[in-house]
Symmetry: C2
Subunit: 343 residues, 2 copies
Amino acid sequence: MKVRHNLRDVARQAEVSVTTVSRYLNGTLDLPAGTRGRIDAAVTRLGYAPNLQARRLSLGRSDSIALVLPDIANPFFSRLAAAIAARAEEAGKMVTLHATMNRPEREAAAIDLAVRNMADGLILVTTDPPPEAVLHRLARVVILDEDVAADAPRVLCDNRQGGELAGRHLWAAGHRRIGYIGGREDLASTAARLEGLREGMGGIAPVSIHADVHAKASGRHLALRFLARRAGETALFVGSDELCVGVLEVFRERGIRVPEDLSLISFDDVRSLHLFAPAITAITQPVEDLGRCAVDLLLQGDWDDPAFRATTRRLPVHLTERASVRCIGQQETDTDPNKEKRS
Amino acid sequence: MKVRHNLRDVARQAEVSVTTVSRYLNGTLDLPAGTRGRIDAAVTRLGYAPNLQARRLSLGRSDSIALVLPDIANPFFSRLAAAIAARAEEAGKMVTLHATMNRPEREAAAIDLAVRNMADGLILVTTDPPPEAVLHRLARVVILDEDVAADAPRVLCDNRQGGELAGRHLWAAGHRRIGYIGGREDLASTAARLEGLREGMGGIAPVSIHADVHAKASGRHLALRFLARRAGETALFVGSDELCVGVLEVFRERGIRVPEDLSLISFDDVRSLHLFAPAITAITQPVEDLGRCAVDLLLQGDWDDPAFRATTRRLPVHLTERASVRCIGQQETDTDPNKEKRS
């Protein structure tokens, strides 16, 4: 069993007073970076977990969950937030939401606020692993959506499966040369989707890969780069609806018809893709389930069990077929890579 | 000049201790409804404004703005929230967001949290006038989007102008019998849009009016009611993109073609309506400006001036023409109602 260190131990290690540590940890004291770093290091080294329950009782209950995510204007995140708020409400909790645009200083400020406001826990969507000290400032942290390195349980969609479903669908429609426009290449979600895509295409990797943040402006930029370097690709797998909107705008401006000139599959399916011209085939994320599952892990998880922090819930996605993939005539069943693999 | 009452005065009037008032007002004490009501009444009667600055200094700065709005899954609100967060950040403030689904108890809980967390102020989007006591618990409250009765400054879009632009556009395309599908009839936004619509149509009111909350499911429901009772309407003005998505789904299922069978104008223009089949003509809301303006009023308004609370900022909208309105051949300039009015 681990020794349970207290505030005094942290103060001694960090060479500051107990009051300083206490006020820093509850967010009521600004400190120079050096002092801050010493306290964070001591907290991490000692595995100190502040007794939030005691603090909450002395100052009033919080009954709130902090939700920190990149971009609330992105409908994937806004629907995720709505699902989290709905589930939290069933459990008698309010959700306080902070948008960070993936900027570390804004993320740090949001987490500071969550600590200061005595949130019961934190649901964190981020593209960069949070400093370990952050995870120690809150008793309960659940990682959601992006698979960053952290000693915390996590809820993800099955990105590999999504890539594979898209790859199989394109393969079955006869496509052999495809491109990928998606999120940053260093992210686990991108890697998993690309791996799945290659697998679904019977081992054929995308001809071209273009990556950036999931935003409409990036979609436009990446679509222009894709068109400039296009080398026979007949289809495109786009990593998010946000990117897809930018891609479709550029295609329209350049007279590229979907699916006549280029087939396309999007990922997320959170915009009204069924009403688009053409309706867009997409990998559908289980947005509501992701939100619910994150709240349930946070509130009902066995946080006293060290093994619990290694929990990963990976929720299945599915392909919703619409009208953006053209069959280019090589779809005989005997060329199905999955059949080949099975044989 | 107004007498400045203190906590002691409130406690005396409410017949409770100073500690009880203090803890109730900073959200760390739950009270029976009766006691709560007496304190709220005393606060209102005496016009008591808690000295937030002092409390903040004693407990640490907040540097956060609370944003309370109905539905974060609605892209109008999620984009509004993003604009507010961006502007607040420029001013060195974090935004904490709470979604209420327009339910009074959730709204009350969110405002409680904002008070307890010592928010610098509150931006409130709601369909029902907040109790006066709520406005006294926070030093600064700005009403946004929906024009509810409250002693607080407000930022709105010009709903009347939006209705008028839609009416003129439909009139110019030859439409004389139109329907309206929009928000609750008792809301100021609905009334203003209908008034503008009638004005833009040269005094002709919509043949049919169908109202409910701004949600896709309501859009479906109202579209079915509209079709069941349709009496020669050639065009439809839809009060939000959320409703519009539901309406378009039903039209597609029933084989009603836009604009061949029915012309349509939406309101908000926050979904990717330019990519829809057909691209949807819409009244475009100044979402980013609304958010920015609300933050600026909150942070830079002259809150010591009682007249400031009567401020209304009404931001202009514009019509974005796309492909969902069909010209039905009565568009001679001499039948333009606005020309008629001018002559």
